[in-house]
Amino acid sequence: MAVLLIAEVTGATLGADSTAKALTAAKALGDVTVLVAGAGVDGAAAEAAQFAGVSKVLAADDAAYGNGLAEPLADLIVGLAPGYSHILAPATSAAKNVMPRVAALLDVMVISEITAVVDADTFERPIYAGNAVQTVKSADATKVATVRTATFEAAAKGGSAPVEKIGAAGDKGLSAWVEDKVAASDRPELTSAKIVVSGGRGVGSEENFAMIEKLADKLGAAVGASRAAVDSGYAPNDWQVGQTGKVVAPQLYIAVGISGAIQHLAGMKDSKVIVAINKDEEAPIFQVADYGLVGDLFAVLPELTEKL
């Protein structure tokens, strides 16, 4: 079977980590062609070609694909669809925008955020904010799915697939990009960081969040936040970890002042090691933590940051 994997591309840059993880899911289904669509993507296409297990890279270089607008990208993917049994993409905000559109244009049902490939037609996916896992079997001719990257290992490099340039599929001009406001940061990206330090409502204020950031910087970690902390204005929304934010699975997840609401757990429970620091020893976060420290975070955090 032939699989078309839509690479995560932001402008001209390949989202190597999420694409490599989705590639692992795609390889279980058949021969993988990677589509790299963006503006000025020669480098991104060459990078995608290095992943082991990629048969071919299709590079679509056009201004229409430079800002992730759904309509022109969906038209491009639909034009390529007849050659493939499966069309997959990592479940990034860009792919979640475009893949259901692709599925509807093909008259098939999209399968969102798969966490396991059972066979060519059957997939596992979380429902109810991760409180249940559903196994679904698709009867559609083409399977269109997004892959929850946190549950798949990244495919290694070491390949050298051929890169083929393909033409653009046109742009009907339904939408236009105005601007991106991306938080500039030297920290690792939240969804691919090895260590994540997250703060919750217990942190108490935006100023106090600096303590979380200090610990994160000491560890070379990304900074996360619970929805309660985001809603209280302590942290920006793109730091949010949980069902309504990002799903992460780092080697080490340190939850500080986070009670452990179900919606937060859904976003981090696949982490390898979880540390919880909370003054309430009954907090649900301790039920999933490998190491729990009951204590006042305002005393614990400075000590931890200093001694590491």
């Binding site: 259901p100 999209v110 409180n131 559903q134 698709s138 105005v178 090691v273």
Partner: protein, 253 residues
Amino acid sequence: MKVLVPVKRVIDYNVKVRVKADGTGVDLANVKMSMNPFDEIAVEAAIRLREAGTATEVVVVSIGVKQAQETLRTALAMGADRAILIEAASDVHQDIEPLAVAKLLKGVVDAEAPGLVICGKQAIDNDMNATGQMLSALLGWSQATFASDLAIEGDQAVVTREVDGGMQTIKVKMPTIVTVDLRMNEPRYASLPNIMKAKKKPLEEKTPADYGVDVAPRLTVVKTAEPAGRKAGVKVGSVDELIAKLKDEAGVI
């Protein structure tokens, strides 16, 4: 301009979800049901457009079991003008897939000719995050998903979207589909007088056959299971002990 808002009746977000012992799904019998939280935000956004004079009428539509009437009455009590119920299921456990929902909504759009459709970005039951994008595809319209801000400027909508790593602003041609994210607004509560008034607002009942749509699912649910649990670990007594465990036992720092 008429605004159409699809709303879904789902398990209340405060209710603990229980997987049925036989693995056929999640138990929804005698469980509190409410409007999908993202759809409440969509209803609020539409009402605000009408209050600002940008929209003239807010029509809400729900697809599912007969009891979805209650969800529509909630939207009417918030301030929507009229409602359409498409009764597509007789069992509360039967979820109509986003593709079928999008096809039915296309039928409603063809009949009602709204200038704007505002949807919640996803339903908190099946977590598909697909209906708005699919409807947009079927109509050949523009789409603006995960919106945190919306402004109508003539024949265009300027939408700020929540994307990985930050925010993106785009301009889309009207008519368009906007799907809303959490920070778009804080939905109002319906007041008692408005709840009473909502009972007299028009609610039209339809069936999928009225729109010529087959709602048979494309995905068969093989089984539904509890997620893999995580065992609680150990409590440590001090920062030193924590650092020692992370270094020597877990080997993660």
